[in-house]
Each structure stands twice: as structure tokens, then as C-alpha cells.
Symmetry: C2
Subunit: 130 residues, 2 copies
DNA sequence: AAGAAATTAAACCGATCGGTTGACAATCGG
DNA sequence: CCGATTGTCAACCGATCGGTTTAATTTCTT
């Protein structure tokens, strides 16, 4: 109830920034190391000016901060606004966890049925991703 | 490594759909009940056609599904694509939980200091999130 | 001091955005 | 059958988007 007005304008900028694959890829790069504008530009076969504009969009959305050292601009990831976006999405979490829970229950029942038949030792549990 | 190519095109559409406050508000409404185009339009003092376009954007992003009964179109929330967006954001979760963790550590240290003074029984251990 | 390197600024381009209006197509209730 | 309700479609509008090119600015190197 509090966060409705607070960062509504933030969310606009953040989601818009994330809606572009080039900018998402840039964030992916920045997740590993601090990078300059030029380093951000080269992998996309894009002009410096083009990359500069993308970085400015990310910067205005608060997703990237910039420190200028000499003639080169170093960009680094700023995750707080990503957390705000995540918080917004979490309001809808129950809508997909509900379905996943029932799916999980089905798979678990199936596994138990197999286990009962085979009475084997190692239950083949495969972690989803991480 | 798998999900990089899979729904890249989905993410474009989903984040773009979420970048508009009217559409986010529509999703908020749809989180409570199934709604018709007209019901979605009225709270925003917007023409039917305008709302229709927004709904189409949400539909093309896979965030809303539509069932037509007679002359009225009923829209309902479809959360799977929101889950995909959430999954993308989770790749960056550590960047904001890190900071929260250090903050938590500070608070925990403070608590323990207080507890030591009082010589209480239960060590207040709080699991990070999950 | 001269020139290369890193970046922004400005102008421009076609495409898309968010929104409207007006015309059209169904469908429902009398 | 008539008229109201519900919605789409197409055309249009000004604004913004993603991208380029060209020019300018600053800094580093020699």
C-alpha cells in the first residue's frame, strides 16, 4: 500500500530499460565486471554513440552508475532498482507458484509410485537449475 | 545457459508491457478478478479502443488471456510470463541481497550485543530469505 | 605541440508508442 | 426488427525509440 506511489515512476524507467535485449545484455556483462562505454559497445557491432545512448537509458533508470576517470567512463551495475522491479513482480508470485505447486505434487506422487514399485536405493532427484 | 535464447523474445514483450503504468494497473485489477475490456477501460477514463490496445499488448506478451462469451471479452491474468521475468531478475538477486546480508549482519551483531548484556536463551538466527 | 583515443552532443531517420476519433461488426434486450 | 451495448479496425496525431553520422570536447601519448 505504501509502494504504490513511491517508485511508480522508477518502475516505468526500469521496465522500459529492461525491454531492450541490447541493454539486458549490457547488464549481463556488467554483472561480471566494471566496463567502459567502449567495452560495452564492441560486442554489439554498434557505434560508440549508440552504446552511449543505451548506457544513458540504463543510468537514468538507476540500473547503472558511472565514474569518470580521465577520458574513459567506467560503468557498474546498480541493483537496487532491479530489487524494486523484483518486489513488484513478487506481488504476483502466488499466481505461478500455485500452478507449480500442483505440478510438483503430481510429480512427487509419480516418483513415490515408482519408488514403491522398484524399491530402489537412489531416488533420481534432479535439481531444477542451480 | 539454456534460458538465454529460449524466451529472449518473450522478455522483450513482457518488460515492454510492464513498462506502462496503465498496463501494470490493469494487471493489478486482473489479479483480483476476471474483467471485461469495458471494466478495464473505465477506471482510467480512457476510450474502449485505447483499453483494447493495451489489452492486446498484454495479450501478445502472454500476460493476459481472453475468452469471448457473446459480445463481451473476458480477460484473465496469465502469470507464466511474469515468472519468466522474475527468473531473469533472479540472476541478479545476489547483487542486492549482498548488501542486505551485510546490513542483516550488522543488525544481528547488534542484537547479539544486546542479548549478551541480558544473557538471554535463544540466539536469534534469521534465515536469509528462503 | 600534434595527433590519437574515448566519449558526448546534435541533427536526422524510419519505426513504434500511446492515444484519439469514426466507422464497422456482432450480440443482446425490447 | 430496432436500438443499445461491447468491442475491433483503420486512420491519424504528436512523442518517443533505436540507430546512424558528423562535429566537438576532453584527455592521453609521443
Amino acid at each position: 500500500m505504501l509502494n504504490h506511489m513511491v517508485e511508480q515512476t522508477h518502475l516505468d524507467a526500469v521496465f522500459h530499460a529492461l525491454a531492450d535485449p541490447t541493454r539486458r545484455a549490457m547488464l549481463g556483462q556488467l554483472a561480471e565486471r566494471e566496463l567502459t562505454i567502449g567495452e560495452l559497445a564492441t560486442p554489439f557491432s554498434m557505434s560508440f554513440a549508440g552504446a552511449s545512448k543505451h548506457v544513458k537509458v540504463l543510468e537514468n533508470a538507476g540500473l547503472v552508475s558511472r565514474t569518470i576517470r580521465g577520458r574513459t567512463h567506467f560503468c557498474r551495475l546498480q541493483a537496487a532498482r532491479l530489487a524494486e522491479a523484483d518486489a513488484w513482480l513478487k506481488r504476483y508470485e502466488r499466481f505461478w507458484t500455485e500452478r507449480l505447486d500442483t505440478l510438483e505434487a503430481l510429480l512427487r506422487a509419480e516418483d513415490e509410485a515408482n519408488a514403491a514399485v522398484k524399491a530402489s536405493s537412489k531416488p533420481t532427484i534432479k535439481a531444477p537449475k542451480k
